[in-house]
């Protein structure tokens, strides 16, 4: 019990350390970048004198670095991520508005990828080196090598532009009802292409991990023993093999999060999905640095928290782990 608590404390410590490093990086990068921080924060080369004054005061740019850093940390602790220059609104508000669609897209795609990857990985792992295994492995390689945005564009071309089965962009049709079941069906219809794209590029990771661990567990001595004891292959598989083989895929869920969010951002841009990815693109185009830095902070925090949760879930799933 105490070791579990100690483990928990250490993992939370690691989380805080990561967040601290990200905050320091954010602070240092803006000040180390070529050019005046005021110009960077203003997002233009010739900010008006009033703007320079306002920004200098806001970020305390005329103060010593230590004071600036302390002010930055204090405002972050108060939940203040800064103010977007081009949207003229708090960064936290802009992120709060776009996080919903991003979560919807990311979670749908990840669940799909996990289910598909584990299922196909099991199919391959139970018959290694068969023709079906070779075919699935090839497909996994191909998908793994695809830039998500390109796959999205190709999907859009075929299923939206040519076949006309699915909408090309956005999250809902402005002409359809904005409430109730009809609205959610409309959203689901718009979700198909982006979610499928993101799921397909993620799937190979789960496929490969599952396949490898199924092959490994099937070769373990205890499986041979169970077989010798006369248990039916189906029972051995369901009760003993799959459980063990699933664990590494669960770990991947957490490790993948940063990669998934990057993929989601690119896919959102392709499909004009109104999430954080599109917000990032807007911020890049308008050189809105406070917004970009705020998004970076939030994404980093999400990834770190995601990794912690995965760790805990893993420990709960696998009783062999005793957090020594």
């Amino acid at each position: 019990m105490w070791t579990t608590l100690g483990y928990l404390a250490r993992r939370c410590g690691a989380l805080l350390l990561t967040l601290a490093v990200v905050v320091v990086l954010n602070f240092v990068l803006v000040r180390a970048a070529p050019g005046d921080p005021v110009r960077i924060l203003a997002g233009m080369d010739q900010p008006s004198p009033e703007m320079v004054e306002a920004l200098t005061r806001r970020y305390g740019l005329d103060q010593p670095l230590a004071v600036q850093f302390w002010a930055y940390v204090r405002s972050l602790l108060q939940g203040d991520l800064g103010r977007s220059i081009t949207f003229e609104r708090p960064v936290s508000q802009l992120i709060a508005q776009t996080v919903g669609p991003t979560l919807l897209l990311t979670l749908t795609a990840t669940l799909l990828a996990f289910a598909l990857g584990v299922a196909l990985g099991t199919v391959s792992g139970t018959r290694p080196r068969s023709r079906l295994d070779a075919l699935l492995s090839l497909a996994a390689y191909l998908l793994y090598a695809m830039p998500p945005f390109w796959l999205g564009m190709m999907g859009m071309l075929v299923f939206a532009s040519w076949l006309g089965w699915l909408p090309t962009s956005g999250m809902y049709d402005v002409r359809s009802p904005q409430t109730g079941l009809a609205h959610w069906l409309d959203v689901a219809h718009h979700l198909v292409l982006p979610a499928a794209t993101l799921a397909l590029v993620q799937m190979p990771v789960f496929y490969r991990v599952t396949r490898a661990s199924v092959v490994q567990v099937l070769g373990d001595d205890f499986v041979t023993t169970l077989r010798a004891a006369g248990l039916r292959p189906g029972t051995i598989f369901r009760r003993y093999v799959l459980k063990n083989a699933l664990l590494p895929s669960v770990t991947m869920l957490g490790l993948q999060l940063g990669y998934v969010l990057a993929g989601a951002a690119l896919v959102e841009v392709v499909f004009s999905w109104p999430g954080m990815g599109r917000l990032t693109l807007n911020a890049i185009y308008r050189r809105d640095f406070p917004l970009v830095m705020g998004i970076y902070l939030v994404v980093s925090a999400a990834v770190a928290v995601g990794a912690l949760i995965t760790d805990l879930v893993y420990g709960w799933l696998d009783p062999r782990i005793r957090y020594g």
């Binding site: 990561t18 564009m153 071309l157 940063g258 690119l266």
Partner: protein
């Protein structure tokens, strides 16, 4: 003293340089992997295209021709974009950019990762404690978004992009090298070197790194692939080097001609898939050859 004993001198338990037999076993494992040889063949083809780019490409990739958004045909095998640039030439020359970017980024990552990991694992103690924390923290930072922020702040010329990607992906290599150094440190030949009073730097350079580098090499090939994909993603967000015709940039610029000019995005994307896959296949082949236990089980 050194000249006459150098090559054949072996300390007790020193595995020494790889012998012919070991190399042959390794190669057999690589060929057995199936993915390895296919990847090598693909990479050879891609490298050939890069080397012969001026011969293969009908025009320079930046050249504007009179045919605007022409579909694939005799004059332009992959068609042209909305400004009349030949897609085939862009794809051919883009091979050079992608290979350069991937290899340089991964090489930077390999060097930094190897040094940090080897020092951490070999030194142990508080040095290891600090370096390991650092590795863990940087492993958790989402690379793509960090690269994006840095490129936006510091500029987007190709050398910059390569360096930044390289400097953000090294922790994976460091972790692999650290594990290797931890186990090599306990081996007799390294202990003998320590007992003989060899300098730590020399032990690292002569014993730890040469014997522990193999997993880093395999991971580096995978990182070449990752770097190429990262650059493509950056270019797609408009953060690529504007003076360089890269595949990601072609897709980014081809977006305006979708859905009618599908060839402007299809072909550069296929080029990315083939190149990235080549490196993934090679990396898997290397891992397979390095991992005999998995090999016996048919993984």
């Amino acid at each position: 003293m050194r000249a006459d004993t150098g090559r054949h001198r072996r300390r007790p338990g020193d595995p020494g340089r790889a012998t012919d037999l070991e190399l042959r076993t390794f190669w057999r494992g690589y060929v057995e992997s199936r993915s390895g040889p296919i990847g090598l063949a693909l990479l050879a083809a891609v490298a050939l295209v890069a080397a012969l780019a001026p011969v293969l490409a009908p025009v320079r990739p930046e050249a504007f021709t009179d045919a605007l958004l022409a579909p694939p045909g005799p004059g332009h095998p992959f068609g042209t974009d909305h400004l009349g640039r030949d897609i085939f030439s862009g794809v051919v020359y883009g091979t050079r950019i992608s290979l350069l970017l991937g290899v340089v980024s991964a090489a930077i990552s390999a060097v930094v990762g190897t040094v940090v990991g080897a020092v951490a694992g070999y030194a142990g103690g508080w040095i290891d404690e600090i370096l390991s924390r650092l590795i863990d923290v940087f492993l958790m930072i989402p690379v793509f978004f960090l690269v994006l922020v840095v490129i936006m702040l510091f500029g987007n010329s190709l050398p910059y992009v390569m360096t930044v990607i390289g400097l953000t992906i090294w922790p994976a290599n460091a972790r692999l090298m650290r594990a290797q150094a931890l186990s090599l440190r306990e081996r007799t030949f390294v202990r003998a070197a320590v007992a003989l009073g060899e300098a730590h730097g020399r032990i690292l350079a002569r014993h730890i790194i040469p014997h522990g580098i193999y997993p880093v090499v395999a991971n580096t090939t995978l990182q070449v692939a990752g770097a190429i994909l990262t650059e493509a993603g950056l270019s797609f967000l408009g953060l690529g080097d504007p003076n360089v015709v890269s595949w990601g940039r072609m897709i980014y610029e081809g977006r305006v001609s979708m859905p009618h000019g599908w060839w402007t995005t299809l072909f550069p994307g296929l080029a990315i898939v083939v190149t990235v896959m080549a490196f993934y296949l090679i990396g898997d082949g290397l891992n397979h050859a390095l991992n005999p236990q998995a090999r016996e089980r048919g993984a």
